[in-house]
Subunit: 188 residues, 2 copies
DNA sequence: CCTAAAATTTTACAAATGATAAAAATTATT
DNA sequence: AATAATTTTTATCATTTGTAAAATTTTAGG
């Protein structure tokens, strides 16, 4: 449970009993590669921490899938848009390796938020950090060329390139797999 | 103060005295078109509500500016990245019209977050809503062609196109002004 | 109303990326 | 190890978008 606990702690300092309380609510789930944790159009009100494994989130566009997020050990997965809009999410989350996750219903978290100041601030900080990550990715998308984005990804997350097939990486970078191949050939 | 109050209320329900307390902390500021509220590289720890006027946020890329956000009546402005990372922000915010704003130091807000459950949850919801907006824009950027994005903007924010010059709109859409002109010519 | 400045559109050409198909390389399965 | 399935690369051509410069339109100030 180390990655999950480290993540929870890193978000915002919780007292020891609150940390106990939180981890006590978590249910371990083992799932196989290929499993879909969320499905677009379906409601899912659970938050997962990814203790082991790797996952991607994608949206469907007519024929193809568009990967817009990767998560690895210590990351958490939830449908923010489904939760905030109280609707079905627009993303599907697929496990790309056999995985160990810890699960908690968002309703239970919400209850903590409504009743406990520390948890409410924990939830705020969780969202704030997620927000600036998304914002930074958004801006880097606008700023940088495809080649620069690929280089940056290699530096920031070299493990990703080893664990995830290039078609998904290309989609994540906003280019076709053919273009990514060209970029890789150029960089050799 | 109507837009500002409406915005505060829409984020998360606050009791009447908390609303009073909040609005009592706000300081009215009138500023001229062209004024820079935030400057990239500088620290600014204020939150502003835009009561009247229109603003854009941009980053510098070598020679040119990249507009990545517009705000109008009822929107709020702050440097989330500067605040969360406790660093200087990477964005500049420029007023595109003479404006009336209400200002509050983030430190005062933070104090409310740390001491009051309702405010802590208000801050959480504020961030959650901002997050899904950013996420949706990020995905729509990847999904849609430049033409589709322009059409969507025309529908969602027709006022923007009347109030903001096209060079900024083009940048916001992630294309050059020439490309935007071509798109507009096609749509005629 | 006139002029100067700024913003927008148009044009011509160059560069980047996409689409498609096929070949090569890698991985999984028997 | 051999075969099949999947993934990645390569090649070709079409399309989109960018760059630069000029022409036009709009805006702001006197």
């Amino acid at each position: 449970m180390q990655h999950t606990i480290a993540r929870i702690k890193s978000v915002y300092p919780l007292s020891e009993d609150r940390l106990q309380q939180f981890t006590g609510m978590l249910e371990a789930v083992e799932l196989k590669k290929g499993h879909l944790l969320f499905r677009e159009g379906k409601t899912c009100r659970d938050l997962y921490f990814l203790e082991k494994g790797i996952a991607r989130a994608y949206c469907s566009t007519g024929d193809s899938h568009l990967t817009f997020w990767f998560g690895t050990e210590g990351d958490f997965l939830m449908s923010f848009n489904g939760y905030v809009n109280n609707s079905a999410g627009y993303e599907t989350i697929e496990l790309l390796e056999d995985a160990l996750l810890y699960k908690v219903p968002v309703a239970e978290l919400e209850h903590l938020y409504q009743t406990d100041l520390q948890f409410a601030n924990w939830g705020r900080k969780l969202t704030e950090k997620e927000l600036i990550q998304t914002e930074e990715r958004f801006i880097s998308r606008q700023f940088k060329t495809a080649t620069e984005r690929y280089k940056a990804l290699m530096e920031e997350a070299p493990g990703l390139l080893r664990r995830v097939q290039l078609g998904y990486i290309a989609s994540y970078l906003g280019i076709t797999q053919v273009t990514l191949s060209r970029i890789r050939a150029e960089l050799k």
